[in-house]
Structures are given as C-alpha cells and as structure tokens.
Symmetry: C2
Subunit: 412 residues, 2 copies
Amino acid sequence: MAVIGLGRVGLPLALAFARSGLRVVGVDVDAQRVSAVNKGDMPFFYPEVQRWLKEALAKGAFAASTPSKETIEHSDVIVITVGTPTGQQYQLDYSQVYSALKEVASADLKDRAIIMRSTAVPSTMTTIVIPLLVKESKLRLGVDFAVAMCPERILEGQAHRELYELPEIVGASDSLSAEIASQLFRKLSPSKKILITTLTGAELAKLFTNIYRYVNFALSNEFAIWAERYGEDAHEIIRVANENYPRSNIPRPGFAGGPCLGKDGFLLDSGTTFSSVVSTAWKLNEAVPQHVVMTLIKSLGSLYAKRVTVLGLAFKANSDDTRLSPAVKLVDTLKAYGADVRVHDPHIEETESLREVLRNPEVVILATNHDSFRNIATDIDESGCEFVYDVWGVYDPGAFKRAKYMRFGKAA
Amino acid sequence: MAVIGLGRVGLPLALAFARSGLRVVGVDVDAQRVSAVNKGDMPFFYPEVQRWLKEALAKGAFAASTPSKETIEHSDVIVITVGTPTGQQYQLDYSQVYSALKEVASADLKDRAIIMRSTAVPSTMTTIVIPLLVKESKLRLGVDFAVAMCPERILEGQAHRELYELPEIVGASDSLSAEIASQLFRKLSPSKKILITTLTGAELAKLFTNIYRYVNFALSNEFAIWAERYGEDAHEIIRVANENYPRSNIPRPGFAGGPCLGKDGFLLDSGTTFSSVVSTAWKLNEAVPQHVVMTLIKSLGSLYAKRVTVLGLAFKANSDDTRLSPAVKLVDTLKAYGADVRVHDPHIEETESLREVLRNPEVVILATNHDSFRNIATDIDESGCEFVYDVWGVYDPGAFKRAKYMRFGKAA
C-alpha cells in the first residue's frame, strides 16, 4: 500500500500499517524529507513514532519515496493524507489534494482503492475527488475501483495510541468501497470499531468533532473575559461549576488554534454569509492573543521597547507544531506594539535557550503549557521580571514573590 | 425556616427540607396558590413532589402562607427562590426579588440567615442584595446576620433526586455565612458536597453551567442547518461523530429554550455591546421555530388556511412548563403565516385532546419530545396528514407510509 503525505497524519499512519504486517510506501513531494525519513530521521517531534520508524526500516516493512506512477500501481490501497490548509484570507487551498489526485489518476486504478484522510469541505468527495478519479480513470466506482473517506480524528501526538483505540469513520457511496476501507483499518486492530456512513457524512462528522471542541474552548474563553470584568477568576469558577456536576464539562480558558481547530470551522462555515456560532467562536479565540497584549498595556502603559519573554511557540503542549499557533500571533502582536521579544520553546530548536530568555526580562508570558514549564515558576520569579502573564493558569499565584502575577481569566 | 416563592424551584426545595426534619413555611404572594398548596394541590405537574407535599402536610412539617413579618421573624433561615424573568425586550425584571427582599428586610434580621437561590446577573449580591439588607437592617454582615448565594442548578423535574445528589455551590463573603449555608444544605444529605466560593463566583458558576449547555444545543442546531444544506441527516452524523469517541459529546438537535436556558445568556451577556458566542447561540436557537415554518412553506407553498397540528407546547419533555418555550413561538409563528393551528399537550389541560387534533390535519408537527408521543407515529400517519415534521428526530422515518416525513437537521 501507499500513503501519500509524510506529515503528522501520514507518517504515523503509514508506520502503524507497516507494524500491522503490511508493506508500505510513504510518498512525499519533498525529496529532502523522503531521504531523511529513509535514514530514520523524523521530520517532527514524536518520540514514540520515531521508534516505529527505526523498527519498520530495519524490517524492510516501510520505505519513503517521491511520487511515481509505479508506486501507485504497485499498491492495492492508496491513502491520501496531504494537507488542506487555508490561505492568508482563509480561502481553501486544495493544491496538495489536486497534486496527489493527479498523481494517483495517472496510474491504472483498476482493482485499487483510494482512501481520502485529509480534512475537507463537506461534499469535496462527491463534487471533486470522485468526479476527478472517475473521469481520469474511465473506471466504474464500486465495481472497478473503490473510493472512501476515512477522516483523521486523532489528537496530534497521540496517534501511537489512538490509531488502535478510536473508532474509524468510513464514508462511502458503495458497498465495495466501504468493505475495503473497513478491512484496511481492521488490520490495525481486529476489534477496531468501524462506523459506516455517507461520503459527505464522513466529512461532516470530522468537522463536527473538531468544531465541537473549538466552540467549547471559545465559550470558556468568553467566560474568562466575563470573569475578568466581574473581578473574578474564571479558573476557580469553572472548577466549581464542573465539580461533581453531571451536565458541566467546561474546558479551561487558554489559547485555541493550531492547524486543525484553527481552520476547520472555516471549512464548514465558508458557505454562509452570516455570522454563526462557529464564526463567533473563531472571533473570540482569535482575539485572545491581542487581549493578552491589551491587558499588559493596561498595566505597563506601553510595551514599546519593553523586554518581553515568551515561553512556548507551539499551538499545544509538548508539541513543536507552530502552524496557526496563537503563541506565534502573540509574538507578532507584541512586536507590532514595539516590544523587544525573546522566545524560548524547548521543542523548537530555532528559539533561544530558557537561560538566555530569562536573562533580565521585564515581562514573562507563558504562552504554551508544555509540561516542562510547570515547575519553573521560581526561575521566572528570580529572573527579576516585573510581570508574569500566565495564559493557561498553570502557576500557583503564591509562587511569585517579586513579580506581579496575572492570568488570563482573572481580574488583574 | 422560610422559603419565599412556591414555584418550581421553591416548592420542591421547601418540601425537601421538611422531609429532612425541618419545620418549613413556604411563602408566596399568590393567595390562591397558597391555599391550594395547603390543600395538597400542586401548582404544576410534578408527581414525585406531589407525594412529598401530601406527606409533609400530614406530618405538619410544612405549611404555605402569604408574606408576613411574623413568618420571617419565626424563621432562622430564609431562602429566596423567586423568579428573575426577563421582560419583553429581555431587560432584567427584578420586581419579585425586590418584593422578597423588602419583605425580609421589614423584619428583625438579627441572627438570621438569608440565602438567595434565584438566578441573578453577576454581582447582584454585592451591588443590590447585600447593600439593601445591610442598609435596611442596620446590622453587620457576617457578625449579626448571614447572607449567601446558593444557586439552583437542578434539572427541572429532577429536584426529587438532584437535591440530594448534586453538589451545592455556596457563595459568601464571610465565613459565618458560608458555614450556616453549608450546614443547611448538608441537612438534605450529610454526604452532600459543598463548594465554597465568592458571591459573584456563585452567580457566575450558575450561569456558566446553564450557558455551557445552551451553547452546545445551539451548536448542534447549527450542525443541523449545515447537514440540511449538504443533503445529509445531522442525527446520523452526530451519532457517528460521538460513538466511542472520547472528545465528542455533541447533543442532538432540537428546540432549546425555556425559563432558564432561554434567558440565562442575557443575564451574563447584558453588559456587552458586542456579539458574543452566547448571543450568537441565542440567535441560532431562537431562529429554529421560524426555520421549521420556512421549511414547511418550501414544501407546501403557503401555510395560509392550512390545518396544522402541533404536538407539545412545553419547552421540555414530560413537563407542563411553557415559559419561553420554542413550541409556543412555533405556534405563534404558524398563526402569523395564516395557518389554522390546533395544539395538544398531554400535560397542559387548556390544549385539545390528541384525538381531536389528529382529526383531519394537513400537517402534524412534533414540537415537544414528551415520552408519550414516542409511540404514536402510526396514529399520526393514519390521521391522513400530508406532512409530518419531527423537530426532535424521534420517529423512525419508516413508520410513515402515507405522510411525507421531515425532521429538523435532515435535508427534505
């Protein structure tokens, strides 16, 4: 089989199939990435999958390759996992999907199965993918070849567990395609639950899943803003509201973004000209970095030429992924207000060391809740900074003896 | 002790305390209600609490009364449970709160505890209730008398279970008040969890709890609209998205409103001039009845003079409560479009019988998901109606042989 796209979705998936006894070719247009992967080097931070890669290469169960017609024709199943990012104006960017589909369609697809795993605007399968494949291949869907939509729903960094545990949604318009896709994913675990639905239903189910979480993060952030206005601490109130209460599962306030949650709302929402719960949630979550800056300005008067240290650049804890990261937006906004910004992220080599960034800052902002930041409150306090701003509310306010401690969701 | 307000919050609470061994006076301004309650007649549908009422009256543990200074002075604890509705323009209506507070403040409050249970705009306790009580009583809060905010968080119709099982939030600004309120609620169950917080924190926690649910209902309704546009069935997609997936608990689409969820967003949100997640959620949920009407018009051309039967008028299943009920809004909207509307609700005497409303209708709409409606699909189908609209998606589409079946969230 072939997995097209050796990113955070495709590489763990390809290696999981290789571990299940399949021979897998991982295809990527990036020749440098292909050669690195073939040497056992991961293109991103993921220790568990790093181990899988070494094992699969040693066993000869996996190899990476740039695209070729032969790879497709040697594969009975081709899984497409390429990115579907949004552009600078949040317009849909399907260029990677078209490249992958054209690559696939250039081969003879007789008796092959094509499985889409990339997140897509609803009805992408029925209006783009299948028309393209049927037209180019001149084959009959569900008779001569199979096509299914099996959306990724794994938490980034949890593929090594969730590929085996989560149910798999299989969207198909014919029984042959549904059956082939189901069999494929059952190879990961014979007890894996398979949920068959329509093609568009599978696209929508993926978006519903992510948007549900995203909107709840926005609501929590809205609660944070209200708590600040009423002179309270949202973290404490949310704890009280949730505790032993069966109908309340309010998340904690904090940055919400990243390459999935930050754009999936647009994929669902792009067809309407009106405000929606999703678009309002987006507005709220996207405003949080600026809100942090405005709160600091209220305390400091101005950020111009102020030495500000930002801890964390990734969009989520223990990750090195900065795509659509609110922490990046925070850094850019701080710079726009004239701050002298230094950044440390333990998972991102290009940033400065913790030691360097804690040398004489005036403000320290915890922007990503990496585990390794949890026990450095004393180091921060002893850096001599005047203000600590905790976006995630992870620190005990009592830990700061010299600096003024502020957190998102608590009145300053 | 005294409980002011013999409504859906106050009466079950008063009787629960009476069952716990306290002598309770239930106070209400409505003399007719007071006299009915003293005869053992419930002012609303609630069979379990009906039994409590008879038992408490028989034991002499409970009596109802119109307000009097003596009642307050005979009570060591006074719990205020009066309504805090919103007006026709969704403005705050605190008239019942002021009446209750003035009644309370007319008595000597020395060594008494006043507990607010009515839902309130955040900071109502610190800016209205406590200033009023301190000013009128000329006593010292936390020394001479106690005041706490213990918000109701019980599902309507579930007080007989949830008063014993749910944790109690106690908001107080002094330890005496916190202690007295905690002791009172522990009388209901010694193992009852007590969560102490600030006065405003307790008000916010209550609103967060309800708004969290309300926004998730709105999101589900937004998903329903999207599924309709993409030709899919939201019920099916939500089932697939939730099944065995740890991060997804999307509710089912349907009407969202009622006296709590329909207004609590306004209590939190009234202080901002901008759109928020809450206000957008409100817009969405409030549009659903009109959306149902527009969908029917698309199928029928016009509703003018059409015989439309609405099943259910209450805002929630197995209740007789029609306050801010979307089903009432649906009926009004149908009438505005010229429909000839007949209504049946098994819990509301003023409506027609099921038999009458199923006599020759052209359209039947399931507007409230009462349990008793679940097995009448055949009766509806045999009524000869052309269209069935199922707001809650409770019916099996296959049950309708003659009528065209439509449901909210599914493309027609």
